[in-house]
Symmetry: C2
């Protein structure tokens, strides 16, 4: 009996070994580079850690007590770019550590730029979902500073005689961008930073957010899509074009879209009609609901395939006549980029060389993607030359084209807003109350997770979640 | 004791399960689709397995004895396309099972199209290396057939009364393409097949092979590269532009290049000077040496970066004056495609729908690659708009540009051919003999791995390895 068991154990161990090496291989091939910065050994001369030796600095952050109270702090905005394809989203999550924010906070702690997240006065401009990338994610936060003189957003340490330090007012600030990029993973980069006044918030002071969604023409009618996109512009109730997040306190769905366009990625070849041309759906708004852009894109794709008329947008925005969202899938994640978060009056400070490093790394990574795309295109061309014919199935959607398309307005609907509110009121997460002027007010219930839910004063830059 | 062993077994099984799902997850994210063919349950009506039920056919191949001798065989050519990025090369290897050929033979065995590899009369046109793709890999092999009448390449079964089967001469042949594509992995596809005369060989009867290497312009001088490439044309000794494989019996390095060009991937935009334009180095030859194309490309890239003059090619081909290869790295693997293998007089038989399925799957996969490339390009554009400047480092080469470039002819050299021959002669793998006319003949030694090594009759289509 033991022999049989021992044999089984040997087989299992061999199998495990094989799988482990396969797993190692496949995780190595998926590696994404956004950095070609020099060796980590290159030391950073203006680092304020004058009191510690280099060796000590390389120890784990937890081992060495660091006296944050001896240093000034300053309130800054950091501008980040990241490739979202390998992450479970931007925001920290309970069930996974594989988020952009988790990596960011590791870097901030490791570089001793903050003491901990809770006291860092951290705000983020938007939350991007799993698979979604960003070129201009902005966060505001208090970081350790070398500036012992008063200045924009600077808080001097208490119990420190700043007059003795005043001579070092000529000290340059810590090179935040370089320090963080050295320890961040390759596919997350700090692009630049800006000093900001205390109280400035990435979340509440953002003037507008711009998303881009990239897609190939295929057999889509992009002219029709461009015309249809305009219908999104203006202030509308977008409940039928998002994933309602009532449980998190999002109770009103009016948002303002400043512009919504569909344009070729390469404008210089605008007269081309090639199905392999790329287009960009670019949308600028004050703030966005959860999955809003991807729902808007999904509907545009249906219009581009001529499965729906452009007018479907007007109907979906008419929440009086269409109070409940029809069931449809949102567009896939990987083509979406939070391209710009706009703030007035910030002086973005770049650090010499850093921009060049990020550019070089992006160019190498772009090379890999585009070369593979061309290998595939060569094969596509070869097949077409031999007579293979494209179906008119949308290439962004996996699987085959559905045989019988069911118009949106004939489909089953999702729960209404009222029904969802009732659901949470029953569970004590929300409470109804008679408000002023006899209107109904809904706010946090006793069992709510969040402290700040009210449907009475909707502010468009106070999103709990974005796409 | 048994309890401890049983416990260990349970632990190992749990660990295995965990790894399997991780592996599945990571292979799904890296999953390459080349097929959108219908469900595997769709049965294939003209399958000659009339004697067995469907249930039996779905059992593992090993369980059910199959009488191959009752069926005709036919000699065919199969044309394959595969994306090499997830494989350790085309040819079966001892230390890994992750090769295109391994998957191919699994499929051939599973579909009962062959009994075993050894008796299948298998030849392949070329061997592609790890990471290298193919659009026209051709193999020749004997497959099970339904054709009981005499025909091109058909061998009738012995001891079977074919006259009773003659009525089924109207039976169509097995749908080889469909049968294999149903069981092959997504990134390996059979495109079509051709009946061939017995004795026809994918290896020896190939008229020419064409490779393509895709690369972005970046800061390369592509005009100079195009002019330089012409110097490869003609019959030359390419020992300085390959990896010598003396141990495997490759002892002479003369090869004929029919054409070598550098052209834009999109000819319609030929007047563009954009650094993000893609180019193709396309090279057609009778046969190629191991890593030859990648070495040729590496030298072209040095010329394009103006680190070497175009004349370096002439010098490397001048083996009298430069008998030993300077040390240099070959170009990376992923941009290389074995694009065409040319055979005269074959009637490639396509199966309806299969071409369309492969095309649709390639388009979806192309969409992923090109969308990601455009996301990256959008970020690159944004950085350039903010003043970031490209270095002139070649984007195909990882890492930073070397500070001091060392000209090829000033570098240390690899071993000479003579030295390598001596090495193997010492070990008994090769033997020297005085040949006719007083010349030296080198052939298989007593301890050689291969039976067919001789340097006296070089045939250009008898490569043991190709790039």
């Amino acid at each position: 009996m033991s022999d049989v068991l021992i044999q089984r154990i040997k087989e299992l161990e061999a199998e495990l070994e094989k799988l482990r090496s396969q797993l190692k291989e496949s995780s190595e091939t998926g590696d994404v580079e956004m950095s070609s910065s020099p060796s980590l050994n290159e030391d950073c001369k203006s680092d304020g850690n004058t009191g510690s030796s280099k060796k000590e600095r390389k120890k784990s952050g937890k081992d060495r007590p660091f006296d944050f109270s001896a240093h000034p702090r300053r309130h800054v905005a950091l501008r980040l770019a990241y490739l979202g394809w390998a992450y479970q989203g931007f925001a920290v999550q309970e069930n996974t550590d594989n988020t952009v924010e988790a990596r960011l906070f590791e870097a901030l702690l490791k570089t001793r730029l903050i003491q901990d997240r809770q006291t860092s006065n951290y705000h983020r401009c938007g939350r991007t979902d799993k698979g979604v990338s960003a070129f201009s994610q902005v966060i505001t936060i208090d970081l350790r500073s070398t500036q012992f003189c008063a200045g924009l957003g600077i808080t001097l340490p208490e119990n420190v005689d700043v007059s003795t330090k005043a001579a070092s007012s000529a000290t340059s600030e810590l090179p935040y961008v370089k320090m963080l990029n050295r320890v961040l993973p390759q596919d997350i980069r700090v692009l630049d930073w800006a000093p900001v006044v205390e109280g400035f918030s990435a979340r509440f002071d953002c003037q507008s957010r711009t998303y881009r969604y990239y897609f190939p023409r295929g057999s889509l009618d992009v002219v029709l899509m461009a015309e249809a996109a305009k219908r999104y512009e203006g202030t509308h109730d977008f409940r039928n074009l998002c994933k309602m997040d009532v449980g998190n306190g999002v109770l009103q769905f009016e948002r303002t879209i400043l512009s919504a366009t569909v344009k070729p990625a390469q404008p210089q070849h605008a007269s081309s009609t090639d199905q392999y041309d790329l287009f960009i759906f670019e949308i600028k708004g004050l703030a966005f609901l959860y999955h809003q852009v991807r729902c808007m894109m999904a509907v545009l794709l249906l219009i581009g395939q001529k499965l729906e008329a452009a007018d479907i947008i007007n109907q979906l925005l008419d929440v009086e006549n269409n109070p409940r969202k029809p069931q449809y899938s949102m567009a896939v994640d990987y083509p979406l980029v939070l391209y710009n978060c706009h703030f007035e009056g910030l002086s973005w400070t770049q650090e010499s060389e850093e921009g060049g490093f990020v550019l070089a790394a992006l160019q190498q990574h772009w090379t890999q993607s585009t070369v593979k795309a061309h290998v595939l295109q060569g094969m596509i061309q070869g097949l077409e030359d031999r007579g293979a014919v494209s179906s008119n199935h949308c290439w962004l959607v996996e699987g085959s084209r559905q045989r019988n398309y069911r118009p949106l307005l004939e489909r089953p609907c999702c729960e209404s807003l009222e029904s969802r509110i009732n659901h949470f009121v029953k569970r004590g997460r929300l409470e109804r109350e008679e408000g002023e002027n006899g209107g109904e007010m809904i706010h946090r219930g006793k069992r709510s997770k969040h402290s700040n839910i009210s449907s009475e004063t909707p502010k468009q830059n106070m999103d709990s979640k974005e796409d």
